[in-house]
Every structure is written in C-alpha cells, then in structure tokens.
C-alpha cells in the first residue's frame, strides 16, 4: 500500500513539475503591457504648443517642427508691423551650457526678456508667460516624474515632456522628445518700456545607452531652446492671447549648441566579450554543479 501511495505521489510530483514549467512558459510568453508615456493632461486646454505639434506629427524632427513654428503658429502671433516693431517683447538666449558630469547632467539656459522701447498703455490688463521649448536630440531624455517634483519645488507655472518618454530604451530604439516649460513673466509688462528680466533654467537630462562607436563615445549636440512669450488679456467677450517669438525664429537656424560626450561600446570588443562571458558562465555553472553533487552528502540508492 505504501509503495503504491509513493508511486502515485511520484506521478503527482512529475505532473506538478510539468504543470509548473508549462505555466511559466505560457506566462512568460505573453507580454506585459506598459502604460503609454504621456505626461500632458488631456484637459490642458491647448496651453501646450508641443501638444498641438504632436497632434499633427508622430515624431519630433527639426524640419517639421520649424515648419510648424513658422507656419502653423502664425495665426497666434501678436501683430507686429514695421511701424510698431519697437513694441512688445524680445527674447534671446544669453547663455547655454551643460553642467555636471557623466550620464546625468543639467542643461543651463539663461534667457533675457526685454520689453519694447515704447509702452502700449491702451492695452487691457494682461498676464504674460515665457514658453521655453527645449528640443532634445536622440540619445538624451528628460524624466517627466523628476520634472514634476522639480516643478513643485521651484514654482514654474507648467512643465511637460512630449515625444518618447520611455526612460529605459537605448538610443537606437527610441525617438526624440522635447520639454515645454511655462514661466510666469508677470502682469502688465507691456505697459513698461525697456525693462527686462533674466530667466535661468536648469533642466535635468539623462543619457541613454548609445549605439556602438569605434571611438568609444557618441557626441550629442543640444541646440538652443525655442522661446516665446504668450500674453493673455481679457477681451470684450473672452480671453485673448497672442505670442511673441524670439528673434532667433523665422527660419533662421539656431547657432548655439552644446556638446555632450557619452560613452559608447566598441564593436571590436564584441567577439571576445561573448566568448569570455560564455567561458566564465560555463565554469561557474560546472563548479556549482560539481560542488553540489560532491558535497551534498547524498547517496543514490535503488529502492
């Protein structure tokens, strides 16, 4: 009776083992769904310029973006004629640099906002904000959650990341992204003349794994941000706003860039890395197997 019971248990054990591995194979073959990276809320009421861009275009690329800025934003621009060119605000990037070392750095931008030589007293009360759009090249990304915490701490009005926000993809499997930051520029600034303000922004960026390169490094270039000022005023029937673009816009390429040298693997190493890794793994496994069998303190018996 006991032997039959043991045989049945052994059969049950084998079935249990079989079921366990089959279940594991089924579970592991199905993919885990990841949530879609999207950090702008659906109810942002069109405040983000990049949302409008990504509603039209799937990925970020410079020609499409410049075309978007030049042509599709033009209906939103404040009307500046040759006669009143001295009015409004002017924006310029004074300084652009990369702070820090390694894979985690900060992009430092210093922006100057200058009101016009003449004030516009007949305008209604208005509130202005500076919009900074930092396009990121392939190979670096901004962490939306880090920016959320930053946003709470330093009091920018709004911050969001658009494009590919997957934090874990290597460079060669990812797409570009861009960061849009809204900073309060104050109220009624168009009433004042020749006044200015400096805005300093430190944007934390992170490097992705780079494609192989014979030199051992990838050089990433980050250009100047696109900067605009949006002024909103209460109109007779509803709120109105318009945009002032920086003097760098209108089809001119931005001249200032910073370079980031990121380590990359070298193809020449691939062969022997594979072979030595395999040999090491094999030796480790054989050693463990041998030690287990030699020192487990078991004896094989036939029942």
């Amino acid at each position: 009776m006991s032997t039959r019971h043991c045989n049945r248990l052994c059969l049950n054990q084998k079935l249990a083992i079989l079921w366990m591995f089959l279940s594991g194979a089924i579970v592991s073959s199905s993919e885990v769904e990841t949530s879609r990276p999207s950090d702008s809320r659906n109810s942002d009421d069109g405040k983000y310029i990049l949302r409008s861009y990504f509603d039209r275009y799937e990925n970020l690329d410079d020609p499409s973006f410049e075309n978007f800025m030049t042509h599709e934003l033009s209906p939103s621009l404040c009307q500046v004629t040759p006669e009143n060119r001295g009015l409004g605000v002017r924006l310029s990037v004074r300084e652009l640099s990369l702070v820090g070392e390694g894979s985690h750095r900060q992009l430092s931008s210093s922006i100057r906002l200058q009101t016009g030589a003449e004030s516009i007293p007949e305008l209604p009360p208005h509130i202005c904000e500076v919009i900074i759009i930092q396009r990121l090249p392939l190979g670096v990304f901004a962490d939306p959650f880090e920016l959320q915490n930053l946003h709470k701490r330093i009091g920018f009005r709004d911050m969001a990341v658009f494009g590919d926000t997957n934090l874990e993809l290597p460079s060669f499997r990812s797409n570009r992204s861009a960061v849009e930051v809204h900073i309060d520029a104050g109220s009624d600034i168009l009433f004042t003349q020749n006044s200015g303000m400096e805005i300093n922004m430190l944007l934390p960026l992170h490097a992705r794994y780079q494609p192989l390169d014979e030199s051992g490094y990838s050089i990433i270039e980050i250009g100047e941000p696109d900067i605009l000022t949006r002024c909103s005023m209460e109109g007779k029937q509803h709120k109105q706003s318009c945009l002032f673009m920086s003097s760098n816009e209108s089809g001119k390429s931005r001249t200032r860039t910073v370079e980031w040298k990121i380590p990359a693997g070298m193809k020449a190493h691939a062969g022997f890395v594979s072979v030595v890794t395999f040999i090491t793994a094999s030796l480790s496994t054989v050693s463990i197997v041998y030690a287990s069998m030699f020192w487990s303190g078991t004896k094989v018996l036939k029942t």
Binding site: M20, F21, G24, S35, L167, M266, L301
Partner: protein
Amino acid sequence: MNSLKPGSIFLISAIFRVGLILYGEWQDAHMEVRYTDVDYLVFSDAASLMASGQSPYKRTTYRYSPLLAFLLIPNSFIAASWGKFLFSASDLFVGLFIRIILKQRKVPDHLCTYSMLIWLFNPFTFTIGTRGNCEPVVCAMILWIIICLINGNVVQAACWFGLIVHFRIYPIIYALPIILFLDPRFFQSGVKPLLCDWTSDQGKIRQINSQVTDQFDGVFSSFVLAFSSDYMDGNFYMRHCSIILLAQIQDIIFPSISTISILTMNVIFRFWKSSSPLVLVFCFAKDLVFCFFVQTVAFVAFNKVITAQYFVWFFCLLPLILPWTNMKFKWQGLCCILLWMGAQTHWLLWGYLLEFKGKNVFLQLWMASLLFQAANTFILIMLIRHHNYAPVFRQHTGLKTTQKKHE
C-alpha cells in the same frame, strides 16, 4: 550576548528603524540626494492613482502587483511614509520568523540570538525597508511559508506561496524544491511532521536520500522543458554589457553571422541557467531552507540585473542556515564577507566611473562583473562545502513499522 533578550532586540530594532524613517524624511526635504528609494515614489504614485479609482499601471515604470499599490493607499490620506512603516514592520517580522523557525528546530538560544542580529542589524536589510523598498514583505512571506511547511500546514503554505509568486515572480524557483520536499513519509494526514533537531555534532552528516532515481527522473524530464522555457530569465548581469555591444552587430557587415552568434549564445546561456538551479534542487531539496538559499544565491548571481535589493532575497535565509555550517567566522567566514564586499565595491567603482563621471569603462566594468560572478560562485561553493546537510524532517516510527511488515 546571552543577556540580550529577544524582546529588547526587537524594541531596539524598531526604534532604530523609526529613527531611520524620520531621518529619511528630513534628508529628502533638505538635501539634494534623496534617502527614499525611487521605487517608493513609483509605488506611491500608483497607490494614489488607485485611491482615485484609476489603474495603478497608468504610472509608467510601475510593474508590480496591484496589491502593493493597494497596501500603500494610506500613503494618500494617513502619511506619505505609511509604506515605509509597513515595510519596516515586515522587516521585524522576518526577525521574529527567523527565531520561530530556529527554536522549532531546537537551535540553542545564543545561536538564535546571533541569527536574529545578523538580519535585524544588517546594513543592507534595515536600509532597504526604511528607504521604502517592498522586499521585506516578500521575505516575511517566504519565511512564513517555511513555518507552515515545517508545521505540516501544507494548504496554508500553498495559499501563501501562490500569493507571494503573484507579488514577486522570483519565488517561483522554490516550487520545485517544495514539491520534492512534500514527501509522504513525512507528511501524513492528521499528523504533524517530525522535525530533525539541530545537533551540536558539527561532523558531516551523511543522509540517505531514497527514491533519488525516481526524483531525478521527474526532474530531468522537466529539465527539457526548462531548457525551452524562459520563465526564469536568468541571463546574468555581465552579459548585459556584451548584449549592448552585440545588439548592434546585427546592423553591420555580416548580419547572418551575428544573428547566428546571438542565437547560439542565447541557446547556450539558457542551457546553463537551467542546469545549475536544477542540480541544486535535486541535491538539497530535503534540506529545504538551505536549498532555498543556494537557489536564490545562484539566481541572483546569474541574473541579467543585480541591484542591492536582490541581496535581501538570500539575506533573510542566511541566518537560518548558519547554525548548520561548520565554517568558522575566523577566518573563512570573514574572508568570504570581505571577498564578496570587495568584488562588489570594485564593480560599483567602475559603474560609478561610467555613470557619474562619463568615462568609457565598459570593458573594465564587464571584467569587474566577471570577478563579482566568480566571487559569488566561490562563496556559494564554500557555503555548500561547509554546510551540514540536515533534512528538515525525520520519518515517523509508525510508518517505518508498516514498511518493515510489507517487506
């Protein structure tokens, strides 16, 4: 050491952990480098989404059980550090369960105390819980499963095992040793299994493992399936660097050769990752706790990614096997500790230079990971060599009599 009462040890540990949690809150508010683990922010965000009726998976990089988000819902309305207190309490439960298991096996008091101290005051373990990592919950459940098994509560153990595998996938590796452990000679209906008590005789105890050939047959037939299954994605970390390099070879001059080389490497790696855990299980299943320990060490050492929180997976089992080792602290034990920490520090140094200084040290990092792998392997072998194989259970005399009559 004999003067330290367990109650005092737990009280001091609890106060220490509360202090660390409070310090962590201060550091997060006042210093640029946060004390709190990034994962805790992910858990908290997911919990607040769940509290507002949304899916926790809306939080990108949240890949844990929804139960974890559920447990942390009070973060939103009681305190943001609720989860840390929960995890630290689990940490204390692990210490309690270590004592319960060792006392049930009649381990002397002073050894029980040492074992508890090794867990409760291990810097790796108390920082993990207080930083907001959920691993102590996993460890507590695993030890509870062991308690259920040694008390013969198989159904309860099964329920907890199902829960823990849902919570964290890695305990699935314990399924096979548990199945082999459930020997009908020890588990009889209505009768609590008899435990083998600890003995002060540190000589090698040779145990007879009957029905080994039948078990091997069952294990080997499953080995074939394990070979083709990837439920245990045990590619080891040192391969991480090489795979980054190799991924690009597919795009260069000889794609067919590179594709074959990658496929071949994958097949061979899969073979190796399956064979050593199975042999460990086959050899040590009856000494269940030791089997869990060596499986976990091998799993972590051969895994694609290593992070400090994974060490907790076997640290919770280490105090349970130490009373059965004849490795002396001076100097074998101390050498193993220094070797492990030295290899790890060396590896972290190259990782620091790569990530925080931007130096191209991929090759050096890879070699450091080989060294770390070698250190892990050596220490595992030393522990196996110096372990006194001690099955958890002994046979009931009633069953022995029945067998004799049958013969």
